[in-house]
């Protein structure tokens, strides 16, 4: 594999100025635009989280009023779910890497890609304006009839913001599906595709088939709140449980939009740092598709106690157990990949171990919730809060940070400081567990979600959780600092610092605008780590 002459012109210094960034159609620059806006919203969501945790230090509501607290957890949910977790991996890592991994020059519709970012920013601005203008207190789930008839906060502006940002997700999904189908390099058959691409293909299917239903739900909520069209408000003859069907039809598959790209990142990292082909490639690939498809049949497990019929609850419960199987298969395959590998422990690999451990706990607690008898007791308590944070924070954010570190040399052309990376991974792991494990216990004790004040006997566990949250919050600041630091002062990165397999590593770091001087031809299997060209001479420290 001859090293292409490293041109001094690459996608970052090909031209400068605000116009070159705000009007770019280069998928790599758009990925960086997303990186900036997604990080901003992660911080906003994080600040709200800290305020919520500070309030919960004491059983009484003495830090803030009840409605302020309600706005805090609502904005925490909206900022994190719609403006960080959903776009994070697909829009940042996906946008940057999908074309490069399949040997294409760009996504199928570059201008549509830029439009996606603008739609995301317009939606974000709507939400920020709503925060400034007094916030919204319906929870990120905006259940009716509270959201359409009783709340007197900015429900419609935030709903409009989410509506617009939803189209950003739809267009990104559309772009990925067409690119993966039509623009693969010669020789790159479906079963030679990196698992990162499989995961993003499955995610795009969910974006396409799920997000429009959220869009129409928001339209109906807006019609009911503004013009009193009776859809969900029983006072007008509607049925509030119908809203829950509409909402969760999208919002459960949305949690798979959040986790599937993370699984794609982990499959790449675990193979690279074990210097070994992924175990059961086709099973891991088809598990992504199975999760995406079965994920649409299980939404009723959010409504076991909400007045849904007993028999419908039975059907959703059995289907929810089926959707757990592919996730388990993936975890077993990642673990099996480590067997007889040559494992090294760079920062991304620490995040992989963190991910597999925490995602396993998250997934297993999901079985608690799918079991009908148990869900009656733990529904809407902190047990649920702990479950989805183990998957979202322990899973998606760990994989996002792992992927960001892994591809940082390719994105920025610089190496991040290794020891700082390992330190922050450790701090985050410790802070995370201290924050969320006590919440499982709180949940089974019966502490309900979204409570501004709570009985005294729950205080000890809440103080532990808040303590953990401050460690976790601090842990997230460390990478922010050294990643920005590395953009200017980091050691220049070679084309393939990790000797990883994948087309994106065959171009210089940072890559030229057209990614590949000549479109590569793929002749070998994915993750061909045991081919001589890839074998590392013994003793070299990466």
């Amino acid at each position: 594999m001859t090293q292409p002459p490293a041109p001094d012109r690459h996608y970052l210094n090909v031209n400068y100025g605000v116009r070159s960034w705000l009007l770019t159609v280069d998928h790599k620059r758009i990925a960086l635009l997303y990186l900036g806006s997604v990080t901003l919203f992660f911080m906003i969501g994080g600040i709200f989280a800290m305020l919520v945790r500070l309030e919960l230090l004491t059983p009484e509501g003495d830090l803030m009023q009840a409605e302020t607290y309600n706005k805090m957890f609502t904005m925490h949910g909206i900022a994190m779910v719609f403006f960080f977790l959903l776009p994070a991996i697909p829009a940042v890592l996906g946008n940057f890497l999908v074309p490069m991994m399949i040997g294409a020059k760009d996504l199928a519709f570059p201008r549509l890609n830029l439009l996606s970012w603008y739609l995301y920013m317009i939606g974000a601005l709507f939400t920020i304006w709503a925060i400034v203008a007094g916030g919204v207190d319906t929870g990120w789930t905006f259940y009716t009839p509270y959201s359409t008839a009783w709340s007197n906060t900015n429900v419609v502006p935030v709903a409009l913001g989410i509506f617009v940002a939803g189209f950003s997700s739809i267009l990104t999904g559309l772009n990925f599906i067409v690119t993966i189908h039509k623009m693969r390099a010669p020789g790159l058959t479906w079963f030679r595709l990196p698992l990162f691409i499989w995961a993003h293909y499955a995610t795009s299917i969910i974006m396409i088939l799920g997000t429009p239903v959220l869009a129409i739900t928001i339209v109906l909520v807006a019609l009911e709140r503004i013009f009193h069209f009776g859809f969900f408000d029983p006072a007008l003859g509607g049925d509030p449980v119908l809203f829950q069907h509409f909402f969760w039809f999208y919002s459960h598959p949305a949690v798979y939009i959040m986790i599937l790209p993370a699984m794609g990142v982990i499959s790449e990292l675990v193979a690279c740092y074990s210097r070994k082909r992924i175990f059961g490639y086709s099973f891991v690939a088809f598990s992504s598709l199975a999760i995406a498809l079965v994920g649409f049949l299980v939404w009723g497990h959010h409504m076991f106690v909400s007045g849904q019929s007993v028999y419908a609850a039975l059907v959703f419960s059995i289907l929810s157990f089926l959707v757990a199987i592919p996730s388990a298969v993936k975890v077993f395959n990642w673990t099996a990949t480590l067997y007889k590998g040559r494992i090294s422990f760079e920062t991304p690999m620490l995040y992989v171990f963190g991910f597999i451990g925490l995602f396993t706990v998250g997934g297993l607690t999901g079985l608690f919730l799918a079991a009908l008898g148990l869900d009656v007791h733990v529904h809407d308590t902190y047990f649920i809060v702990a479950h989805f944070h183990y998957i979202m924070v322990g899973g998606t954010i760990m994989a996002y940070l792992g992927g960001l570190h892994f591809w940082w040399p390719k994105i920025s052309g610089r190496l991040y400081p290794e020891w700082w990376g390992r330190l922050s991974a450790g701090v985050i792991f410790v802070g995370f567990n201290l924050t969320f494990f006590p919440q499982f216990i709180l949940g089974y004790l019966g502490m309900p979600r979204r409570y501004h004040v709570y009985p005294e006997e729950f205080q000890v566990l809440n103080v532990m959780s808040s303590a953990g949250a401050s460690i976790l919050g601090f842990g997230y600041l460390i990478p922010l600092v050294y990643m920005i630091w590395s953009m200017r002062y980091g050691k220049p990165a070679p084309a393939n610092p990790w000797s990883a397999a994948g087309l994106e590593w065959t171009t210089p770091s940072p890559p030229p605008t057209e990614n590949f001087p000549v479109t590569p031809v793929v002749t070998e299997e994915a993750y061909a780590y045991d081919l001589p060209a890839r074998r590392l001479p013994e003793g070299t420290h990466v």
Binding site: D106, I177, M183, I208, I216, F227, F229, L236, G237
Partner: protein, 215 residues
């Protein structure tokens, strides 16, 4: 024929790949539209099974002849749209302009008839909300019917307005001679969109207008 320069973007290998990508992209977009309108069909199914008598009573308030005419108008506009795409494909610029104009005219007619119907609803106080009045005992359920009626036909009319806007833009480009047999993708894409909007109406018409007409 002017040089058949096919405008291939830099990231595509050839025009065929570009055309395939555009067509697949449009169809995936139409799938999102199916799910978008699908939400309204779900509300329709749930509330019709909950209030069957009210649905019959409310559907009788709608004017079948106007609905029928509108359906015919829209099907005719689908024909003229298909002929417009064919004209662009064969490089007949005059035919393209004529058929695009006819499609815009028919789209306008549809919206005009829709406006008449909406005016009729306002006069009869059938718009849900404060002004809603309905004699008969099923007023609450009939109001839900009209909520769904306005949501469905309103969303469909909005898509018609967008479609007419796209067609006007095509007319401008067609008059400027931008389409050649080698590159007429925008005409075909707008065609796909227009036919989809027609299909939505093909389902809306029986569901809203023809409920229990035999009563």
């Amino acid at each position: 024929m002017s040089e058949a320069v096919s405008r291939v973007a830099h990231h595509f290998d050839d025009a065929a790949q570009q055309k395939d990508a555009a067509t697949l992209g449009m169809w995936v977009f139409l799938v999102t539209e199916i799910l978008f309108f699908g939400g309204l069909f779900l509300a329709y199914v749930v509330y019709r099974t909950s209030f069957p008598e009210a649905w019959v009573e409310a559907s009788h308030e709608l004017d079948v002849t106007l609905g029928g005419i509108n359906t015919a108008v829209l099907i005719l506009s689908s024909l003229t749209m298909a002929l417009a795409v064919q004209a662009a494909q064969l490089g007949r610029r005059k035919g393209l302009i004529v058929f695009l104009a006819l499609t815009i005219l028919l789209g306008g007619t549809f919206l005009g008839i829709k406006a008449v119907e909406y005016h009729h609803k306002v006069v009869e106080h059938h718009v849900p909300g404060a002004s809603f009045q309905f004699h008969g005992a099923n007023a609450r359920a009939v109001q839900i019917f009209f909520s769904i009626y306005f949501a469905m036909t309103g969303m469909h009319a909005l898509h018609m307005v967008i479609g007419v806007g796209l067609l006007l833009n095509l007319m401008r480009q067609g008059l400027a001679g931008r389409f050649t047999p080698a590159w007429y993708t925008p005409v075909e894409m707008v065609g796909l969109y227009w036919h989809f909007v027609d299909i939505v109406w093909i389902f809306l018409f029986p569901l809203l207008y023809l409920v229990g007409r035999h009563g």
